[in-house]
């Protein structure tokens, strides 16, 4: 259907739901993001993330690659769902990325690692000693557990992300304290060298790191800079001879801080900004050896959980760092930090899916044997609901972890939203797992203490929600901007505009726009598939509405951002289980019907939650609620505590 003549009438603008004044909005969001760069690590992260294709490429091709990255359509499901579109390429079918050799290799690795954690590692002992037993550390080093993703020719095991996830799952199931010790070392501690290190740096450092002869730590956080990572104050200045950077500063909450020999340290450097001609603080990443001198650390922090993991302050006093030890580009440290955290995030979901599995086994054992009021407690509805919820949560978490690791192994560079979603999901709802379990002495109370930190480190869940929402908004905003451009040349873009008008008209009328998961989802799951499609459509519309309503100020509307992020998480979760359950049904697994029920139940509840969020975001009473909450918060802050006087009057 060709459009006759399309002119930029107000009617057209309304149909396309674009205000003529929209032109600057997307640009403003970008500008505001840069302006408020220190407001959220997430916004810089969004910027960094878009440019991250450039991380690891030579300077010459950097500009070209960055430009290319932005013009290629994203294959990420999450990115597209913010636009109300479905790109199934990364989610359907459920990725199966290992070749026969990799599968066989992994199958050989799982039993010895499991056996080690079942028989040798003593989590209770590690917890009470507040360190990993020396003999266990030695065995872990011999086992090769410290260099799982280091290439084989540099002394590591050379695992893919999927293989790594499977082993990390075992560790998560048994001992999160050990998990963090291993993860702080290889998932973030020296990951930078793996991702952006020069060949010389890799050859120099990776072999000893792989065997655990040297341990690594990731040093970003400072007393005044946690979520606001861009505000760090540790300073690196070029020495007069020009051969060293002199490092001064202090880092806090550093895992392995007291054990590490090799530190990935982030410090600020004043640099000339070419565009403005002014000096600006930019962050650079450095590989710092304790042996350089001037590196000291504080005593181990006494923590509630993951006690076996060493957490300490690390101080750098006039530490001379050779210029060859700059990691990545001078001034490019923030991007390096974000790339490292982004790259390791899927590991958390994998580890926690293992933790959940372990806890569920204990919960089931308790519920199946404990008798109260004359019956085994698993016959009671309240307990059944708890067991069911635990099972669904584990199913979703596990599915997310392996979908993301599969995407990463297939070469996707566009997984940052999904990775953030998986980390939030795995660490938030895990609390559901605990009520029914017998807490005393079964090791579960230790697990409960160990879990609390997962919502906080590696990007607090609050920040990651903002990251998910803002990233999504940025892409959706670009889409709207491109429509804006199309409006300037309606005849040349008749097809695009016609499509958009039709789509929106249908949506307004409550009709399906042809968006479908049919062909991707197994026929037995088509109802749940339809729920997902409806949710995506409503979600896409809501995202646009919010953009149009708030424009650049969406950056500040955290009540909105949180709800958008929660919906995005639920949506991705729905799609992930649809994919996994579809595969089980197609392959005729014995468990396929059980998985079908897990999937359907999850989708029903997730759909309801998403629709509630969508409704709330449109409703004026919710807007009022947000305003009220702001006022309540202001009042208690002003009062230094509770404002309302005691009911008793004193």
């Amino acid at each position: 259907m060709l459009l006759g003549k399309v002119s930029l009438t107000p009617a057209l603008c309304t149909a396309l739901r674009i205000s003529p004044a929209f032109s600057g909005i997307q640009k403003q969001i970008g500008a505001a993001a840069t302006q408020n760069a220190r407001l959220y690590a997430s916004s810089q992260a969004a910027e960094a993330v878009l440019d991250k294709q450039a991380v690891g490429t030579t300077t010459a091709t950097k500009a070209a690659t960055a430009k290319k990255a932005q013009s290629v359509e994203s294959q990420s499901f999450a990115v597209n769902m913010f636009k109300g579109q479905i790109n199934p390429s990364q989610v359907f079918p459920f990725p199966s990325v290992m070749n026969e050799e990799q599968t066989q290799f992994l199958q050989e690795l799982v039993p010895p690692v499991s056996k080690f954690f079942e028989e040798v590692n003593d989590p209770a002992k590690n917890d009470s000693l507040e360190k990993v037993e020396d003999s266990t550390m030695e065995s872990l080093k011999e086992m090769g557990a410290f260099g799982l993703q280091v290439p084989q020719d540099l002394g590591g095991v050379g695992l893919t992300n999927t293989q790594y996830a499977r082993l990390v799952e075992i560790v998560g199931q048994h001992d999160l304290g050990v998990g963090i010790t291993l993860g702080a070392h290889q998932s973030i501690g020296f990951k930078g060298i793996l991702l952006v290190g020069s060949p010389a740096q890799k050859e120099k450092y990776l072999p000893k790191l792989a065997t655990g002869e040297t341990l690594a730590a990731f040093c970003l956080t400072e007393p005044a800079s946690g979520s606001d990572a861009a505000s760090i104050k540790t300073l690196a200045t070029l020495s007069p001879c020009g051969k060293h950077y002199i490092l001064n500063g202090g880092k806090i909450w550093i895992s392995n801080g007291g054990l590490a020999e090799i530190f990935t340290v982030f410090a600020k450097m004043p640099m000339m900004d070419e565009k403005t001609g002014q000096m600006k603080d930019k962050i650079t990443a450095f590989i710092v050896e304790r042996s350089f001198g001037g590196v000291t650390h504080g005593p181990p922090e006494k923590k509630m959980g993951i006690k076996a993991s060493n957490t300490a302050e690390v101080y750098f006093e006039n530490v001379p760092v050779p210029i060859e030890n700059v990691l990545g580009e001078v001034g490019g440290g923030f991007k390096v930090a974000m790339a490292i955290l982004n790259n390791g995030r899927f590991g958390m979901a994998a580890a926690l899916s293992g933790t959940m599995k372990g806890v569920i086994t204990q919960a089931v054992d308790h519920a199946a044997n404990r008798v109260q009021f004359g019956s085994k407690i698993h016959t009671y509805g309240a307990i059944q609901e708890k067991l069911a919820r635990m099972t669904m949560l584990q199913y979703v978490t596990e599915s997310m972890a392996y979908m993301i690791s599969g995407n990463m192994d297939s070469g996707s560079k566009d997984y940052h939203i999904e990775a953030a979603i998986s980390k939030i999901f795995a660490s938030t709802d895990i609390l559901w797992l605990f009520p029914v379990v017998c807490i005393q002495g079964s090791g579960v109370e230790r697990v409960m203490r160990d879990l609390r930190i997962f919502r906080i480190f590696e990007g607090t869940n609050d920040i990651l929600r903002l990251f998910v929402a803002l990233n999504g908004f940025q892409d959706a905003g670009k889409h709207l901007k491109s429509l804006q451009k199309a409006l300037k040349n309606p005849l040349g873009n008749a097809g695009l505009l016609a499509g958009e008008i039709t789509k929106r008209a249908k949506r307004t009328a409550g009709l399906s726009t042809g968006l479908t998961l049919q062909g991707s989802v197994h026929p037995e799951l088509s109802h749940s598939g339809n729920l997902a499609v409806k949710a995506i459509e409503h979600f896409g519309v809501t995202v646009e509405d919010m953009l149009l309503k708030h424009g650049k100020n969406i950056l500040h509307e955290q009540f909105v951002l949180k709800r958008v992020a929660d919906s995005a998480i639920d949506l991705y979760a729905m799609v992930v289980v649809l994919s996994r359950a579809s595969r089980s049904l197609s392959q005729g697994h014995a468990s396929a019907q059980h998985e079908k029920i897990l999937c359907e139940t999850w989708c029903i509840e997730a759909y309801d939650r998403i629709m509630k969020n969508v409704k709330d975001l449109k409703s004026s009473s919710t807007t009022q609620v947000f305003k009220n909450m702001k006022a309540i918060s202001a009042a208690v802050v002003e009062n230094g505590g509770i404002v309302a006087p005691h009911p008793l009057g004193f």
Binding site: E108, L109, P112, S139, Q152
Partner: protein, 253 residues
């Protein structure tokens, strides 16, 4: 030129809850976790230790069965064996396979490989036969040191401390010999990930029983497999007198 043959059997993992097939022809093995027989692990460990102490030059791990047994051979390679031999047996032959057939295979291989020692686990945890080592020695007409809890090589002889009902027995036997490993012989090492990687490069040779001139025909037919009877509930009594009365009443005393 000293070479040791070690037998490794793939069995249902010791931690698995065994279930009898509905047709009572055997136990459920499909989809069930399998691993190396624990006594075979001890045998491998002993062989590798002997090699590390330089008493022997090469350790060859052998397993009989369908393609899945290569996993077990690879575990042995990861523990330090130098190469493997997979004797392919599948289908009905595999189901009916027992100590007689295995010992014939091992006897043939021991001769073919010119082994100085054949080390096996004392028994497998699935059939608990405790016959293969003994039969192999008999077929070869070699001395045997069974239920070994300590093995010391001294020139051309082996000193074996055996676990017997009354305690321990020490014997000296000449090589070539067959040894079977008992529980306290050693503590098997954990396969490390780097060793598993190295094991991928080690060779596993394939052959069939016919290549060794062994006929797999079984002389045993399994008629039926039953689960052990469920344990009946006990009865609690208040006093010793009650206990005696009850025991008298049901004819026990």
């Amino acid at each position: 030129m000293s070479r040791v043959l070690v037998g490794v059997k793939r069995v249902i993992d010791y931690a698995v809850k065994i279930r009898v097939k509905p047709d009572q022809s055997g136990v459920v093995t499909d989809g069930v976790k399998h691993s190396m027989n624990p006594f075979c692990e001890i045998a491998v460990e002993e062989a590798v230790k002997l090699k590390e102490k330089k008493f022997i030059k090469e350790v060859v791990a052998v397993s009989c069965g369908p393609s899945q047994v290569t996993e077990t051979i690879r575990t042995a390679l990861a523990m330090g064996c130098d190469r493997g031999i997979h004797v392919e047996v599948s289908g009905k032959d595999y189901e009916a396979m027992g100590p007689l057939q295995i010992s014939k295979i091992f006897a043939a291989l021991a001769k073919k490989e010119e082994a100085s020692l054949v080390i096996l686990g004392k028994q497998a945890i699935d059939d608990d036969c405790n016959q293969t080592g003994q039969m192999t020695a008999a077929l070869l007409d070699w001395p045997q040191g069974t239920f070994a809890s300590e093995v010391t090589i001294d020139g051309e002889t082996v000193k074996v401390v055996r676990e017997i009902d009354g305690g321990l027995e020490t014997i000296k036997i000449s090589m070539p010999a067959v040894l079977t490993a008992d529980l306290r012989l050693n503590t098997p090492r954990y396969a490390t990930l780097p060793n598993i990687m190295k094991a991928k490069k080690k060779k596993i040779a394939n052959m069939k029983p016919a290549d060794l001139g062994v006929d797999m025909v079984s002389r045993v037919e399994v008629l039926r497999v039953d689960e052990p009877p469920t344990r009946l509930a006990g009865v609690k009594v208040e006093t010793v007198d009650d206990l005696v009365a009850k025991l008298k009443a049901n004819g026990t005393i």
